[in-house]
C-alpha cells in the first residue's frame, strides 16, 4: 500500500509531461474529423440522420458504428426521433439531412397525404419484411373456437377473425380495436390487406388506431387493443411476456415485401448528389455486412444499446438471427427471411413497389384525387441514383424498374440485372398477382376498399 503510494507520487512528478501527452491525444481526435472534411467531391460532410428505434434502423446505425459512413468521408450523427411525424417534418424543413422512413412515407410527403406536400425521394430500400400481427391470448382463443381450420395457416387466419367479428356484431358489441403505427405505414397496409382478404372492412368492422410501437405491448396487456401490427422487437416482446401470440408475419402476408427506405428531400438530393451517393454506398456496405448470418449477433449488440433501440439483446435477437417465435408455448420456428437487408435485391428502390403503395393509398381513401401512378412512383423512387452507387462499388443492380409480384413461389434468378441476382419468393397470402403494367385493373380487383377516386377517372390518367 505504502509503496504504491510512493509510486503514485513519483508518477505525478512527471505531471506536466503526462498532461501534455493527454492533450495531444485529445487534439488528434479532432483532427480525424478535419481530415474527413478535406475529402473532395462531397457537398456536405457532417450529416444528421433520423431513426425510429426499431430493429430495422440497423443499416443506418451499423453504417455509422462499423465505419462504413466514415469510409466514404461522412461524419454522421444519428438522431433518435420520437415519432414518424417528427421524421417527416424534420426532413421536410431540413432539420435532418435524411432519415429512416416507412416505404410509403416519401410518397405521402410528396403528394401531401397528411402533410404539406414536400417532394421527397428515396434511392435506397433499407429492408424487406420484419413486421408481424400479434393478437391477445384471449382473442386467439376465440378465433380458435370460431374456426380452427382457418387458424391452421397465417394466410387464412383472418377468416377466423371475421367469424369472431360477425358473432360480436350479432351480439351488439362495439367493434374491436386494433393498432398500427402510422397512417401511411406498411403496417397499416399489411393489417388492412390481411383483414381485407378475409372480407373484413378495416374502416367499418374494426376500429383502427395508431399507437407508438414502444407502447403497443402495454396497451395489449391493458386490453385497450385486441391486436396490432408492428415491427420488431414489439411482437417478440409480447410473446416473451406471454401476453400475446403472433398470428401472421408480414413475410406471410407478402413474401419479401418492402419495408423501410432511406429518404431525403428532392431539394437535398439535387444539392448534395455526391454526398447522397456516399451515404448510399455506406448503406450498401452495411447491408451486405449485416446480411451475413455470422454478423447478425454483432448487429443485435450494436442496435440494442440505449442510444438506439434500447431493448434487451435477448428480445432483439429473437427476430434477427433466422428464427421467429409465434407463441411462448412453442419453440422458435425457422424464418431466415424475417429480416432481409441485402439479398434478393432488397436495397433496390423498385418503382413497382412505390406504385403498389400508391394503389393501397388509393384503396383506403388516403389519396382523394386521381393521379398518374407511374409518374408519381418515378418522381419518388430513384433507381438511377442507386445504380450509380452500386456501380461505384462494383455491385450488381437490376436494369429494370418494375417487377411483377405474386408469381414466384420459390427462389428465382433476376436476369434483368448487370449480373444475375438471386431473388426470393414474392407470393401474397391471397394468391393475387400484382402486375405493375395493369395498375388500375389490380386496384379494381379488391372487393374490400374505401376508394375516394373512381376507377374510370384513374383509367383516364393511367392509360
Amino acid at each position: 500500500m505504502k509503496d504504491n503510494h510512493i509510486n503514485r507520487r513519483n508518477f505525478l512528478k512527471m505531471g506536466s509531461g503526462i498532461i501534455l501527452g493527454a492533450s495531444a491525444m485529445g487534439l488528434s481526435s479532432f483532427r480525424s474529423v478535419a481530415y474527413a472534411a478535406g475529402n473532395t467531391g462531397l457537398e456536405k460532410v457532417k450529416l444528421s440522420l433520423g431513426i425510429i428505434p426499431l430493429t430495422d434502423c440497423a443499416p443506418i446505425v451499423v453504417a455509422k458504428e462499423k465505419g462504413f459512413f466514415s469510409k466514404y468521408g461522412l461524419d454522421v450523427a444519428i438522431s433518435k426521433e420520437a415519432s414518424w411525424a417528427n421524421i417527416r417534418d424534420k426532413v421536410s424543413i431540413g432539420a435532418l439531412d435524411g432519415a429512416h422512413m416507412l416505404a410509403g412515407m416519401p410518397i405521402a410527403a410528396t403528394l401531401g397525404v397528411g402533410a404539406l406536400p414536400k417532394p421527397t425521394v428515396t434511392a435506397f430500400s433499407m429492408d424487406l419484411n420484419g413486421n408481424a400481427i400479434t393478437v391477445s391470448n384471449d382473442l386467439y382463443e376465440r378465433m380458435m373456437k370460431a374456426d380452427p381450420e382457418a387458424m391452421k395457416s397465417s394466410s387464412t387466419s383472418a377468416q377466423a377473425l371475421k367469424k369472431v367479428i360477425d358473432q360480436e356484431k350479432a351480439a351488439g358489441k362495439e367493434p374491436m380495436t386494433f393498432a398500427m403505427v402510422f397512417p401511411v405505414s406498411t403496417h397499416n397496409y399489411q393489417l388492412r390487406y390481411w383483414m381485407g382478404a378475409a372480407g373484413i372492412n378495416p374502416d367499418q368492422d374494426v376500429r383502427l388506431i395508431v399507437i407508438p410501437p414502444p407502447q403497443m405491448v402495454a396497451n395489449l396487456r391493458a386490453n385497450n387493443i385486441m391486436g396490432y401490427c408492428v415491427g420488431e422487437p414489439w411482437n417478440e416482446r409480447a410473446v416473451e411476456m406471454g401476453i400475446g401470440r403472433v398470428i401472421a408475419t408480414s413475410y406471410e402476408i407478402w413474401n419479401n415485401n418492402p419495408e423501410k427506405v432511406f429518404a431525403v428531400t428532392q431539394e437535398w438530393a439535387e444539392k448534395n448528389p455526391h454526398t447522397h451517393q456516399a451515404v448510399i454506398m455506406g448503406l450498401l456496405d452495411a447491408a451486405q455486412w449485416m446480411d451475413k448470418p455470422e454478423n447478425r449477433m454483432e448487429v443485435v449488440k450494436i442496435i440494442s444499446a440505449a442510444s438506439y433501440v434500447n431493448a434487451p439483446e435477448d428480445v432483439v435477437k429473437m427476430s434477427m438471427t433466422g428464427t421467429f417465435q409465434y407463441t411462448k408455448a412453442e419453440k422458435p420456428k425457422d424464418l431466415p427471411d424475417f429480416n432481409v437487408f441485402y439479398r434478393y435485391a432488397a436495397t433496390f428502390p423498385w418503382q413497382s413497389h412505390a406504385a403498389w403503395f400508391i394503389t393501397q393509398m388509393l384503396r383506403w381513401g388516403q389519396i382523394t384525387k386521381p393521379l398518374d401512378i407511374k409518374k408519381t412512383a418515378q418522381s419518388v423512387y430513384r433507381p438511377d441514383i442507386y445504380r450509380e452507387a452500386a456501380k461505384a462499388l462494383g455491385l450488381p443492380a437490376p436494369t429494370i424498374d418494375y417487377k411483377t409480384e405474386g408469381t414466384h413461389k420459390a427462389p428465382w434468378s433476376l436476369t434483368e440485372a448487370t449480373s444475375p441476382i438471386a431473388m426470393g419468393s414474392d407470393m401474397f397470402s391471397d394468391n393475387m398477382v400484382y402486375d405493375p403494367a395493369k395498375l388500375v385493373k389490380y386496384l379494381a380487383a379488391f372487393k374490400v376498399h374505401n376508394m375516394q377516386v373512381s376507377i374510370a377517372d384513374l383509367e383516364k390518367m393511367n392509360g
Binding site: 505531471g15 424543413i93 397528411g114 402533410a115 402510422f182 383502427l208 407502447q215
Partner: protein
C-alpha cells in the same frame, strides 16, 4: 367564443408556463395531458379546437391518424395540411412544438395560438440553457478547485501558483481551463 386548447406535454414546467400564457391571451385551456396513456379516450371526452403538442411526444403519430379518418369522425386535422405558412411551420418545429386543429376550426385563428406556444417553448428552452450554463460553470469551477488541490498537495504548490500553472497550460495547449483541470484529475485518478 374563446378558442379551446388542449396541451400535450410531458414537461410539467413548460406546460404550466404555456398554460398561463394562453390564459393571459384569452384562450381556454380545457386539458393539460402529461401522459399519453389513453390519449384517444381523453381527447374524446374533452372537445377542443386545437391541440398543442410537444414535438418530442410519441403521441404525435396517434394524432396523425385522427387526421386521416376525419371523413368518418370529426377529429383533429393536422395544421400542416391547412396552413401554407411554411416559415411558421419551420419556426414551430425548431422551437419543438406542433399543433393539430379540429376540422372546421378557422385556420386564421391558429396562428396567434401557435405564436404564443412557439414563444413559450423558446422561452422555456432559453431558461433551461441558462440553468445548464450556470450548472456547468459551477461544475467547472469545482473541477478547477479539485485540480488546484491536487497540484497543491502533490506538487507542493501554493494556491496561486497552482492556479497559474493550470492557466498557463490551458493557454499553451489552447484548451479551456476546465478541460486542463479535468485532465489533471483524470490522470491523478489513474496514477494515485
Amino acid at each position: 367564443m374563446k378558442s379551446k386548447v388542449i396541451l400535450i406535454d410531458e414537461n410539467h414546467g413548460r406546460a404550466a408556463l404555456l398554460q398561463q400564457a394562453l390564459l393571459d391571451a384569452g384562450y381556454e385551456v380545457v386539458a393539460v395531458i402529461h401522459d399519453g396513456d389513453n390519449l384517444l379516450a381523453q381527447l374524446e371526452q374533452t372537445p377542443a379546437d386545437i391541440i398543442i403538442i410537444d414535438l418530442e411526444s410519441p403521441d404525435r403519430d396517434t394524432l396523425e391518424y385522427l387526421t386521416s379518418i376525419h371523413q368518418n369522425h370529426p377529429k383533429p386535422v393536422v395544421m400542416f395540411a391547412e396552413n401554407d405558412d411554411s416559415d411558421m411551420i419551420s419556426a414551430a418545429i425548431k422551437a419543438g412544438v406542433s399543433a393539430y386543429i379540429v376540422d372546421g376550426f378557422n385556420t386564421a385563428r391558429v396562428k396567434p395560438i401557435l405564436e404564443v406556444a412557439i414563444a413559450r417553448f423558446r422561452e422555456y428552452h432559453a431558461m433551461r440553457c441558462e440553468l445548464d450554463a450556470v450548472k456547468n460553470k459551477l461544475a467547472e469551477r469545482k473541477l478547477v478547485e479539485r485540480a488546484k488541490g491536487i497540484l497543491m498537495s502533490h506538487r507542493g504548490m501554493d494556491e496561486a501558483t497552482a492556479y497559474h500553472s493550470l492557466r498557463k497550460m490551458a493557454m499553451d495547449k489552447n484548451l479551456r481551463l476546465a478541460e486542463v483541470a479535468e485532465q489533471v484529475i483524470s490522470i491523478s485518478e489513474l496514477l494515485l
